[in-house]
Amino acid sequence: MADSVKIVDGRNSFCPGPLMELIKGIRQEPVGTVFEVWSSDAGSAKDIPEWVRRAGHELISNTQDGDVFKIQVKKLK
């Protein structure tokens, strides 16, 4: 399972850096790809799900692991 998830490491980057990294990944990879964004920025943990909803993709999970927020997103279109 783990090897099918693409990690987008946006740690140490501030809003909208992690989101822009995710967008870059979504543009490059095929439909169905699952991304996991790592962000040390709490703002992104709120902002990325909102972008995912508006952009029509699927938010799989949004968890906190120590200081890192991990947001899993599936590309739907």
Partner: protein, 133 residues
């Protein structure tokens, strides 16, 4: 015809915070498929000159300094470039300021689509949401 999804901005201030905010809105808005037109005029335009001595006249308040010191923020130029890459973003340099300083688009960073007067910009954005910044 006015586009209800459009976001247009008149960037007039040399305040780093406002320029960064417009760049962030541009990058994220463009990723949603929003059409964005930006008119850069008055004190904001020098911030986009290729000559660093001219561009550095930009003003930074405490938050802006913190953003720069953090090293984690994407520069406003890169955010504008990303916005243009993602979708329909047009950036126009005010022809009045360009004329005042005898600058051409070759003197400016590579984000501009054209020079434009205020009448032409108002014509383009008629009936659409436009924010002065």
């Amino acid at each position: 015809m006015p586009n209800p999804q459009a976001i247009n901005m008149m960037l007039l201030s040399n305040d780093y915070a406002k320029i960064q905010a417009v760049a962030m809105l541009t990058a994220v808005g463009s990723s949603y498929g929003k059409s964005i037109k930006i008119f850069v005029s008055m004190e904001a335009l020098p911030a986009f000159h290729k000559d660093a001595a001219i561009a550095s006249t930009i003003a930074k308040g405490p938050v802006a300094r913190k953003i720069v010191e953090s090293g984690g923020a994407t520069s406003f130029l890169d955010l504008f470039r990303q916005g243009k890459e993602l979708g329909d973003v047009k950036v126009y340099a005010c022809s009045m300021v360009m004329d005042l300083y005898h600058w051409s688009l070759d003197d400016m960073v590579d984000i501009f689509d054209d020079t434009l007067g205020v009448a032409a910009f108002l014509g383009m954005v008629e009936g659409e949401t436009t924010f002065p910044m």
